[in-house]
Symmetry: C2
Subunit: 328 residues, 2 copies
Amino acid sequence: MSLALLERHRDTLRHALSDALSRDPEIFRALRYHVGLEDDAGQPDDGMGKMVRPAIVMFIAEELGGSLDRALHAAVGLELVHNFSLIHDDIQDQDRTRRGRATLWTQLGEAQAINAGDLMHAIAISEALRSGPAIAERLLGATEAMIVGQTLDLHFEDRAVDEAEYLHMIDHKTGALLRCAFELGGICAGASEDVICDLRQLGHGIGRAFQIRDDVLGIWGNGDVFGKPQGSDIRRRKKSYPVAVGFSRAESGDRETLERIYAREPVREEDVEWVIRLLERLGVRDSAAEQVRIHLEQAQDAASRIALSERGRNELNALIEFLARRQK
Amino acid sequence: MSLALLERHRDTLRHALSDALSRDPEIFRALRYHVGLEDDAGQPDDGMGKMVRPAIVMFIAEELGGSLDRALHAAVGLELVHNFSLIHDDIQDQDRTRRGRATLWTQLGEAQAINAGDLMHAIAISEALRSGPAIAERLLGATEAMIVGQTLDLHFEDRAVDEAEYLHMIDHKTGALLRCAFELGGICAGASEDVICDLRQLGHGIGRAFQIRDDVLGIWGNGDVFGKPQGSDIRRRKKSYPVAVGFSRAESGDRETLERIYAREPVREEDVEWVIRLLERLGVRDSAAEQVRIHLEQAQDAASRIALSERGRNELNALIEFLARRQK
């Protein structure tokens, strides 16, 4: 699926990303590999993701009449913060592949991958600072929130989690950078505090809807042979939104069984089926769908207060549809 | 030993460090523990190091007529960058203690210690940004250089290293933040480019002299029963300055033996003695002492061009003596 909002500035973003990472020391080659600019032999590659966050920075700045030159550094800084966090996440989770490519720590070892992430973090903020101190300050605030979210997520591996705790975590871990994308676009355009607040709510709504939808797919799949199979997040014992709601709603006997299953590794197939049945019995699937709807409405509400062009409004709606209703 | 330059602003720095790290999320407790503000039970502690770098920022800013309020944020930012790098270094080197306290990864696990370092990195730059974009930009440049130095140092574990490569590495790994301390003080005082350049050379000279002196102590000890024993860096197969010079100077047969010893683990006691004899035969100990002298002269030369007060000049000289001539 091709979305105008993601495509329009993609080449510009790619070049700016390449400029930010084109330096001599050997370690920079690892950074270019990680973001997908080069393959593992140092040859040009097109392994970058959708680059949703920097595309949003550029889109909002353009729509609100800001300078695209200024927005570009903010956008690249944000994308690099996202990527530094992925380098360290992959070490923490011991994930060996990402987007079909070997993760950095499997190539360099953990020690050098920690350095690579640290270097990308510093470069990210340097890049954002080129758009001005207000941009760097906002990005640093979002980065701190994201890291706090990541520490909460790791804590959740060892204990039961309720719905409020899960939402608090995810608002930090994945929500912070998405809200930041909308805010940075607004700051680059010199938007008023009121508009920044609307942009923030827009990002918040999209972020929540996207995450909950993603978590639903991780449990119920999408019936598509190419998509996620049923129960994959349960097999991985991932405490995603539906499970957190399950923990909140389950009565004593069920709750104890649920805790026992999430403490056991590996999870047995009969446990996966039991959890899915429990969640359905507790009405979790319907509640999650309702939450997605509510947050999309809030996002659209916030968007309606922002002075977008006709074209911009259509493109934003297409992005929202894509992020929050995607089937895989 | 008590040094006026290190003592004068120590309480102010301690309070500002505490302010920067006093936030609610659990992970901030780990940050306060790491820098030495609290013990592992969360009680007030005095486990901080000498805080040389932030003391230098304050000293130079004060001497050159800058605002101490502005310098304080720059100083705390620099100290936090240094500390974030220690958190990650301890994971990379698998060191279990630092300054007599358990390192953070032994307390939290490696995954959460990576997060703690990342969070401290972001807070460090936020703090520096409060002193203005020029301060944050300079600190980010030094941080990038430091990380490049750390990647080089890890690479050195697997291969022979010559003198020039070693100096290049150390100018990055430890030199960058020390030079930065002098520069940040100057920037806070609105010093001219020429003065900043002198400050940079002052930091460079002190950094080189300190590092080479430290490396000499790591091989020859200091004859003091409380200091380092002879050969301790050889036992750890650390490729420090004397060994790099040894690699540069050794002729074929000796060089092969040296390479074999540094590839073997553990190093035998007879090898330690052989390496020490080789380095002395190659005149490495004398050359190192000469290098310390040359770099101290360059530092004093640069200092003489900077408009310090009489008291300031004496205090700076006392610090230089302490750093570059210390016996342990």
